[in-house]
C-alpha cells in the first residue's frame, strides 16, 4: 500500500486505516472537533456518517462525550490536533478517560513541529510528556505510514486509553509491510556497537540518515524506533546499551518530559550511562519550513551526529 521512501503524512494513513477498520468492526465510532478534513477522520465520516460525530470546536466536550460513549461498550476514536487533545482537554483526558480506564483512542494530528508553517500555537511540543504522566495512558507516535496503519489497528485491540500522535506533513516510509508492530515493543532498526540512538515519530528517519553518515566516520550506531514511549520497552533499551554504553534520544518534542526524560529515568535507576537528548530545548519554535526549523532548533541530522560524538567522547573519558 505504501512504498518505501514515499513521503506521506501519517495522518493520511490514519484516515485510511480508520475506514478499513470501520468496515470490519461496527463497534468503532469516531468523534471529531471541526477539523475532520485535516485530521483525515472525515474519510471515515463520509463512509459511515451514522458512526461519525462532529462535536464542533469543543475539545473538552469531545473528550468527555467519547468517554461516555466508550462506557457503552464502543471502541471510540477521538480526532483533533495534538495541542487541543493533550492540553485543551488535558484534565478531561485524565479524569474521564484515564482514571475510569475507558476504551478511548485519542489520535491526533499536528504532532511536534510538523505543522511547521502554522506556528507555535498549533505545534504540540509538550504533549507526549503530559500524556506520559497520566496513569494508565499508553502513548504512541508512529514513524511512518506503514507503522501508523499497524499501530492504529493494534490500538483497537488494546484494552484502555491510547494517545497516538500523527504528523501533519509528509514523512518518508521506512518500513515494508512485513514488519510486525506491537504496542509497547520498540523496533531495532539497525544494529551497531558504539552508541544507541533511540528515536520516535518523524525523527526516526532522521536518525537513520544520521546513522548512515556516522558509519562512514567509523561510528556504528544502533537505531531503535521507540514508537511507544509509555509503557517504555525497557528490555530493548537494556539489551542495546549493554553493548553500546551510550545513548542519544531524538524526539520532535521538548527535551524535558518526553522520550529523553523517560529514557533518563529508566537508565538512571537501572544502568547509569551517558545520555544526550535531542529535541526542543525549553523554547517554543516558530513558523517556517520544517527542515529549516529542525536546523534552527538543533534537531537536524547534523545535530544528531554531533550528539553521538559527544556521548562517544564522554564514554571514553569515563574509561
Amino acid at each position: 500500500m505504501y512504498k518505501l521512501g514515499d513521503s506521506i503524512p501519517t495522518r493520511n494513513a490514519y484516515g485510511d486505516t480508520l475506514v478499513e477498520l470501520g468496515r470490519k468492526n461496527d463497534q468503532i465510532v469516531v468523534f471529531e472537533a471541526d477539523i475532520g478534513k485535516s485530521t483525515r477522520s472525515a474519510i471515515f465520516g463520509k463512509e459511515f456518517p451514522e458512526r461519525y460525530f462532529n462535536i464542533g470546536v469543543a475539545e473538552q466536550n469531545e473528550m468527555a462525550i467519547a468517554a461516555g460513549a466508550a462506557s457503552c461498550g464502543k471502541i471510540v476514536f477521538v480526532s483533533t490536533y495534538a495541542v487541543f487533545a493533550s492540553m485543551r482537554a488535558c484534565e478531561q483526558v485524565r479524569t474521564f478517560v484515564a482514571y475510569p480506564h475507558v476504551n478511548v483512542k485519542i489520535c491526533v494530528s499536528h504532532g511536534g513541529i510538523t505543522p511547521a508553517n502554522d506556528g507555535v500555537t498549533h505545534q504540540a511540543t509538550e504533549d507526549l510528556g503530559i500524556m506520559r504522566t497520566i496513569p494508565g495512558m499508553t502513548v504512541i507516535m508512529p514513524a511512518d505510514a506503514v507503522s501508523t496503519r499497524e499501530l492504529v489497528i493494534a490500538a483497537t485491540q488494546w484494552d484502555g486509553p491510547i494517545y497516538l500522535r500523527l504528523t501533519r506533513d509528509g514523512v518518508p516510509v521506512i518500513y515494508n509491510e512485513e514488519t510486525s508492530f506491537k504496542i509497547g515493543k520498540g523496533i531495532l532498526l539497525r544494529e551497531g556497537k558504539d552508541i544507541t540512538i533511540i528515536a520516535i515519530g518523524d525523527m526516526v528517519s532522521k536518525a537513520l540518515d544520521a546513522r548512515d553518515i556516522l558509519s562512514k566516520q567509523g561510528i556504528l550506531a544502533e537505531v531503535i524506533d521507540m514508537h511507544t514511549i509509555k509503557p517504555l520497552d525497557e528490555s530493548i533499551i537494556l539489551d542495546s546499551v549493554r553493548k553500546t554504553g551510550g545513548v542519544v534520544t531524538v524526539e520532535d518534542h521538548q527535551v524535558e518530559c518526553g522520550l529523553g526524560s523517560a529514557v533518563s529515568e529508566f537508565l538512571g535507576e537501572n544502568y547509569p550511562i551517558p545520555i544526550q537528548r535531542i529535541g526542543l530545548r525549553n523554547t517554543f519554535a516558530e513558523s517556517g519550513e520544517y527542515e529549516l526549523l529542525l536546523k534552527k532548533y538543533k534537531m537536524s541530522v547534523d545535530d544528531i551526529i554531533s550528539g553521538c560524538f559527544k556521548v562517544v567522547g564522554r564514554k571514553k573519558k569515563k574509561r
Binding site: 470546536v57 473538552q60 508553517n117 513558523s287
Partner: protein, 284 residues
C-alpha cells in the same frame, strides 16, 4: 476630497489585496476568514481605535485581540498600512525568522496578544478591560471572534464574566460568516439564535451587515455610549468576501489552490492599478 466611507472602502480593498498576495506568497494560510473580516478591521484601525503607529506599546492605546487568530494576515496588513511596520515585511508571512507568524504573537509590533487557539481571546480581552477599570484608564478593548469559535466553552465562560464585571469598555465583534473549517455552522454545531444567546447572558447586542461601513461605524459609536454592560456586534459577513470563487465556499477556509490564488492576485493588481492612483502607488 473624497468622503470618509469611500476612503475606508479603498483601504479595505487594499487589505484584501494584501491578504491574497501574502497567502499566495506564503503557500499556506487562511484567506476566507481574512476577507470576511476586512471591512471591520479597516474601520477599527483606520477610524475607531485610538492607537499610535509610531509607538505601538503606548500604554493608553486601545487594544485589539484577534481571537480567530488564523485570520492574522488581514490584521498584519492593517498594521502595515497604518505604518506600524513596513508594508514590504508582509512578504515574510509564515517564513522562518519572520515576525509575522502563522498565528499572531504578542512580540510582533502592534499585536496586543498571542492567539490562534480558538476561544481564548474574549477572556484575555476581559482581563485587559478589568485592568483599565482598576487603573481608571479610558482605553477600550476590542475582540474579534469567529462564529465557529462560539463552540468553545471558554467563550461562554468569558461572556458570563464580562457581564458580571460590567465591562462597558469591552466590545466583542462576531465575524458571523456562518462557515467553519468542516462546513456550515448549522451543520457542525448550530449556534441557534446568536442574538438570543448573547442577550441571555446579559449583553447589549447590535446586529449589522459586516461589510457595510455605514453600519459598522454607527455600531461602534452605539457601543461606546452604552454603559454598565458589555456590547457585542453580531456582524453578518460573507466568508471569502471580494474574491468571487472564494465567497461562501468553506473549502477556502484555508488555502485550497495556490496557483488559482496567485492568478487572482495578479488580476487584482492589474485592476487596481488601472482603477485609481490611490491603489497604484500602494501596490506591491
Amino acid at each position: 476630497m473624497i468622503d470618509k466611507t469611500k476612503e475606508l472602502e479603498r483601504w479595505a480593498q487594499l487589505l484584501r489585496y494584501d491578504v491574497v498576495r501574502m497567502i499566495s506568497n506564503a503557500g499556506s494560510g487562511h484567506p476566507g476568514g481574512c476577507l470576511s473580516a476586512a471591512d471591520i478591521i479597516t474601520c477599527l484601525y483606520f477610524k475607531e481605535m485610538n492607537i499610535r503607529p509610531e509607538e505601538p506599546d503606548w500604554p493608553d492605546r486601545d487594544r485589539f485581540i484577534l481571537s480567530k487568530g488564523h485570520a492574522c494576515p488581514v490584521l498584519y496588513a492593517a498594521l502595515a498600512r497604518r505604518g506600524v511596520f513596513p508594508v514590504k515585511k508582509l512578504k515574510t508571512l509564515r517564513k522562518a525568522g519572520s515576525f509575522l507568524q502563522g498565528h499572531p504573537e504578542i512580540h510582533t509590533s502592534g499585536i496586543d496578544m498571542t492567539s490562534g487557539c480558538l476561544g481564548q481571546g474574549l477572556s484575555v480581552g476581559a482581563g485587559m478591560a478589568v485592568a483599565a477599570k482598576i487603573d481608571r484608564k479610558f482605553y477600550r478593548t476590542y475582540v474579534m471572534l469567529g462564529c465557529g469559535e462560539m463552540n468553545e466553552g471558554q467563550v461562554w465562560e468569558s461572556v458570563m464574566c464580562a457581564s458580571h464585571f460590567k465591562l462597558d469598555n469591552l466590545l466583542a465583534i462576531v465575524d458571523y460568516n456562518r462557515l467553519q473549517f468542516d462546513g456550515s455552522v448549522d451543520e457542525v454545531l448550530s449556534p441557534g439564535s446568536m442574538v438570543k444567546r448573547w442577550k441571555g447572558f446579559n449583553w447589549n447586542v447590535i446586529e449589522i451587515d459586516g461589510h457595510n461601513i455605514n453600519e459598522i461605524l454607527p455600531a461602534f459609536e452605539k457601543a461606546r455610549n452604552t454603559k454598565e454592560v458589555p456590547t457585542v456586534i453580531i456582524a453578518n459577513t460573507i466568508k471569502g468576501k471580494g474574491v468571487s470563487f472564494m465567497e461562501n465556499d468553506y473549502l477556502w477556509h484555508s488555502l485550497m489552490d495556490r496557483d488559482k490564488l496567485a492568478e487572482k492576485c495578479k488580476q487584482m493588481k492589474k485592476d487596481m492599478e488601472n482603477a485609481d492612483s490611490f491603489y497604484a502607488k500602494r501596490l506591491w
